[in-house]
């Protein structure tokens, strides 16, 4: 009798513990409770302009600190490094780019991004010592890769392309840089290009150095997914589409190079919070544009300003 009673108590305790653990799991699910964002669904949150009269805390900066804690600007610092000082940009033109004006359009972009009011948005981000990102980008060089890994690139193949370019000496080995693998329209990335993403960034150890690199595919392959418009202000829909994606990845790579610095409680990095929004546009060559960098016009997505409560913008201040 006592044994049976004990069995019943054990069963009840076990059931109670399991229920408690299930409830705990539900309680631990992230809450989408950022008060300064207008929710547009589970995927996106943005605010077009700073809320008038929004009260900022302290100096208006988001609070540094790990764990994705609260922030006055809708984005949090998680303790990791940022790219500080001048950010060098290298291009690896993968596939066949001969005769394509993309090589001029995107090179001009990299050469004129630094010092722009647009890239200045990134200076609102800083590390744990309050050292801010510099509005300084240098186009440091490029190389061509003629299908060394075929036309369907895995994530590992993309890293191998970067490693090959560095190890061969075609581009310098540079820890303060972002390497972009830019693929021609006949090349895909097998981990979800066109169906999940248009580009991504990450980092890896190459030759003993922490190398930051990014993949940006050609939207000509899937214009409905990865191009904002069917033409472009520079007359090359694919390259003009890549410009916005490239800017997106660059500003994320600078403020979250090792995936452990600036992002919000949903995992959104600065550019994610403003993806596919462009602000005020004007017409150029029959296409929409929203900013001039150097002598060219581009349609580039807005970026998240980490000040004054946080907001999407094309320039700062």
């Amino acid at each position: 009798m006592r044994k049976r009673l004990f069995q019943q108590m054990l069963f009840a305790s076990c059931a109670a513990a399991l229920v408690a653990s299930v409830n705990a799991a539900q309680v631990l699910a992230p809450e989408d409770d950022e008060p300064d964002l207008v929710p547009t669904g589970k995927g996106w949150g943005e605010r077009a302009t700073p809320t008038p009269g929004y009260v900022t805390h302290g100096n208006g900066n988001a609070k540094p600190g790990g764990g994705g804690g609260g922030s006055s600007n809708g984005i949090n610092y998680h303790g990791g490094p940022l790219i500080l000082g001048t950010t060098n940009v290298y291009y690896i033109w993968y596939g066949n780019w001969s005769g394509n004006s993309a090589t001029s359009i995107l090179t001009d972009l990299a050469q004129n991004m630094g010092g722009s009011p647009y890239f200045n948005i990134n200076t609102t981000y800083y590390n744990g010592s309050n050292v801010h990102v510099s509005n300084s980008v240098q186009y440091a060089g490029s190389t061509n890769d003629s299908y060394s890994h075929g036309t369907a690139l895995s994530d590992a193949a993309i890293q191998a392309v970067v490693a090959g370019a560095i190890n061969s000496g075609a581009v310098a080995k540079d820890a303060n840089a972002v390497y972009f693998v830019l693929t021609s329209a006949d090349v895909t990335a097998t981990s979800g290009f066109c169906t999940q993403y248009c580009g991504w960034h990450t980092h890896g150890t190459i030759g003993g150095v922490d190398i930051k690199y990014s993949f940006v595919g050609n939207p000509d392959r899937c214009p409905n997914s990865c191009a904002a418009q069917t033409t472009g202000p520079n007359g090359n829909a694919g390259a003009d589409g890549m410009a916005s994606i490239l800017a997106h990845e660059l500003e994320e790579a600078v403020t979250d190079p090792d995936l452990n610095a600036w992002y919000d409680r949903r995992g959104y990095e600065n550019a994610d919070k403003c993806a596919w929004t462009f602000g005020t546009t004007y017409t150029k060559n029959g296409a929409q544009a929203n900013m001039q960098l150097g002598t060219r016009d581009y349609l580039i997505q807005r970026n998240w300003v980490n000040a004054k409560g946080g907001y999407c913008a094309t320039q700062y201040p």
Binding site: G41, G43, S191, Q196, T202, G267
Partner: protein, 167 residues
Amino acid sequence: MLKAAAVACVVALATATATLAADSAPGRVPTVTRLVKLFLEREDALAAAMSRGDSAALAQTLSDDFELRTGARAAAPVPRAEFIAAAERTRPPARPVGRMAVHELGSVAIVSFVQGEDARTAIFVVDVWRQDAADWKLVVRYASPAGASDFAIPGAGHAQPEIPKKY
């Protein structure tokens, strides 16, 4: 008997705890293609309509020939009217939509995603949307438990190592 029950309890708790730990890990950045953004919003609106039991909103979203097919009853589809009635009756809470991919095939979009963050209750959904003038209508939903990554699925045995990355 007693020993077996105790062992089962410990194993079940350990499993639940491990799942909980995995669930509470920070998620990856969501996808950013234009179509993913569009359908994240559509799916979110659909889930919200279901949680409100909003039959008018559901009727506007679902095509006339909509049906739901679940893995457990693959040959017994739930027709449109029953789906709406069930939503009105049960008002299922809206759960987060993640890991979405969109394949666009002309005027049809095949949208796959995982709904829910708890591995034990998450659902893998494949929605087929058809373009209807300037709008999209949901034609068919296939849904089943998301399951575990080590569950044997033919053709899925040689997954590439996943390099952590952000979009």
